[in-house]
C-alpha cells in the first residue's frame, strides 16, 4: 500500500440545482486495500462514484483514478476499472455464456477462467437465459462479467442490495478471493456493516454530502467510545465534551458515546466524580449509528427541567 493512491479527490463537488449532492470531497484510496464507502441513503455515494468514473461532470474540484484525471479518462484506463452498478444492465435474450462472449470483445485482458469460476460459484448454467435469472443470479453474472477482465480497481456500488443470503455470501467470498492479488483495489459502497466488518481495511463515511471519516476501519472503531458512569445519586447534567455524539441518562447512570476520546475527555469525565466509570465495548454498527444518527443530548434525553423534581 505504498506509492500514489488509486483514487484521489480534492475539493470534489457536485451540485444538482442549488443543492450540493457532494461537497468538497477529499478522498484517498490506497492501492491494494478494500475500501468501504458508507453513508445514509442520499448522502452522495453514487454521485461520487459516477464522478470518479467520469460518468458525471463535477461542478468543481479535482479527481484522479489510476493516476488519470477523471474529466478525461481514456478507454485504456476505463478498461482497467471494473464497475458494478446498482441496476444491472443486461440483454434478456442472451444466455449466460453469450453475455460472457459479448463482454469479452471489449476487454483485451478477458480471463475466461475467472468468468467461469464466478458463474460456477453462483451456480449459474451457461445456457440459462438472462431473462429467466433470479436477482441473485443476475448479480452473480454481473460480478463475473466485471471480474473477468481482471480489473486493477473494482468499484462496486451497493453490490449486496437485494441479494439472498447465499448469493450474498458468494459475493463476499469473491471479494476476499480478489485480495489474493495484493495490487488489486476494491472500492465499494454499502449499507451492510457486517460486510464492512468482514472485508474492509479502510472506511469513509459521507454524511449529508460531506465526508466525515476517511481512515483505517480499526481507527474508526477505536475513535468511537462508549463510557458508562455510575452515580450514587442523580447523575449530573450532561457535560460539554468535545466529540460527544450521544448521551443517555438513566437512574444513577450516564452513558456517553463520544469520538476522539483522549486524556482530556477522561479528565472531564472524572471531574463529574462518578462512583464508577467504565469503557463499554461498542460494535461497529453501534459506532456507525451513533455517528450518523442524531447528535448530542436530544436523542434520548429528557430536558434538564423535566428531569428535575
Amino acid at each position: 500500500m505504498n506509492e500514489q493512491p488509486v483514487i484521489r479527490t480534492q475539493g470534489l463537488t457536485r451540485y444538482f440545482g442549488a443543492k450540493p449532492a457532494v461537497y468538497d470531497l477529499n478522498l484517498e484510496v490506497p492501492r491494494g486495500c478494500v475500501f468501504a464507502f458508507l453513508g445514509r441513503n442520499g448522502s452522495g455515494k453514487t454521485t461520487t462514484i459516477r464522478m470518479l468514473l467520469g460518468l458525471l461532470e463535477p461542478t468543481r474540484g479535482e479527481g484522479s483514478i489510476l493516476g488519470h484525471d477523471i474529466r478525461s479518462l481514456p478507454p485504456e484506463v476505463r478498461a482497467r476499472i471494473g464497475y458494478l452498478t446498482e441496476d444491472h444492465q443486461l440483454y434478456g435474450w442472451m444466455s449466460v455464456r453469450e453475455c460472457g462472449e459479448f463482454q469479452s470483445r471489449f476487454y483485451p485482458l478477458w480471463n475466461e477462467q475467472i468468468f467461469r469460476a464466478v458463474i460456477g460459484h453462483f451456480n449459474l448454467k451457461p445456457t440459462a437465459r438472462v431473462k429467466d435469472l433470479s436477482r441473485g443470479e443476475r448479480a452473480g453474472l454481473c460480478l463475473g462479467l466485471t471480474l473477468a477482465p481482471e480489473p486493477e480497481l473494482l468499484v462496486l456500488d451497493d453490490p449486496a442490495i437485494g441479494l439472498d443470503p447465499v448469493a450474498h455470501r458468494s459475493l463476499i467470498e469473491s471479494m476476499i478471493y480478489l485480495t489474493r492479488r495484493s495490487d488489486r483495489t476494491i472500492f465499494f459502497s454499502s449499507h451492510q456493516l457486517a460486510d464492512v466488518e468482514r472485508v474492509a481495511d479502510y472506511v469513509a463515511v459521507l454524511d449529508r454530502s460531506v465526508l466525515q471519516v476517511c481512515c483505517p476501519l480499526e481507527t474508526f472503531r477505536n475513535s468511537v467510545r462508549q463510557i458508562r458512569l455510575r452515580f450514587s445519586s442523580a447523575p449530573p447534567p450532561v457535560p460539554k465534551i468535545p466529540g460527544l455524539l450521544q448521551a443517555f441518562r438513566a437512574e444513577g447512570e450516564l452513558r456517553l458515546t463520544c469520538m476522539h476520546y483522549n486524556d482530556a475527555t477522561e479528565q472531564a469525565l472524572r471531574a463529574l466524580a462518578p462512583a464508577q466509570m467504565e469503557m463499554v465495548p461498542i460494535s461497529l454498527e453501534d459506532a456507525f449509528i451513533s455517528y450518523l444518527g442524531e447528535r448530542g443530548e436530544k436523542s434520548f434525553i429528557l430536558s434538564e427541567t423535566e428531569a428535575q423534581p
Binding site: I172, D201, E218
Partner: protein, 133 residues
C-alpha cells in the same frame, strides 16, 4: 487438532480479537498444544470469509504475545515462549478484568465469601494448566 474458529459480525469484539481469544482459549483448555499447526493467514481468511489483513493482525498479536511462531516456509505453529509480559504489565492487563468480574458480581449481590469460593473452584478446574498446584 479438534480446533475450530468461528467469528460473528456485529459483535462488540472486533474480529481479530475474536480470533486471538479463541486461539488462547483453545490453548489453555488443551485443544491446542505446543507444536500444533494453525492454518495459514490466507486459508483462515477464506475459511472465515474475512479480510486476510484481519487474520494477519490477529496472528501478529499472538506472535507478539508468544503463543505462536512462524517457521519459514512451513507455517504457523503453537509455541511456548513464556514470560512475554513483565509482572507489572501482566497486572496492568489483569486488573481491569478482575475489577469487571467483581463489579458484575456486586451488582448481582454475591457476597465476598461466595466470590472467594467460586474463584477457588475455578482455579481447581484449571489445575492442569501451567502454574497449577
Amino acid at each position: 487438532m479438534s480446533f475450530n474458529i468461528t467469528i460473528s459480525t456485529g459483535s462488540n469484539t472486533p474480529i481479530y480479537k475474536q480470533i486471538t481469544d479463541q486461539v488462547w482459549l483453545a490453548f489453555v483448555t488443551g485443544k491446542l498444544a505446543v507444536g500444533d499447526q494453525l492454518p495459514s493467514v490466507r486459508t483462515l481468511a477464506e475459511d472465515l470469509v474475512v479480510n486476510p489483513n484481519t487474520v494477519a493482525r490477529a496472528y501478529a498479536d499472538l506472535m507478539r504475545d508468544g503463543l505462536i511462531e512462524s517457521r519459514a516456509g512451513r507455517g504457523v505453529f503453537i509455541t511456548r515462549k513464556r514470560k512475554v509480559f513483565t509482572r507489572e504489565e501482566g497486572w496492568r492487563r489483569l486488573e481491569p478484568l478482575i475489577d469487571a468480574a467483581i463489579g458484575e458480581a456486586m451488582t448481582m449481590d454475591f457476597t465476598h465469601q461466595e466470590l472467594r469460593e467460586a474463584f477457588e473452584k475455578k482455579l481447581g478446574q484449571w489445575k492442569h494448566v501451567k502454574g497449577g498446584n
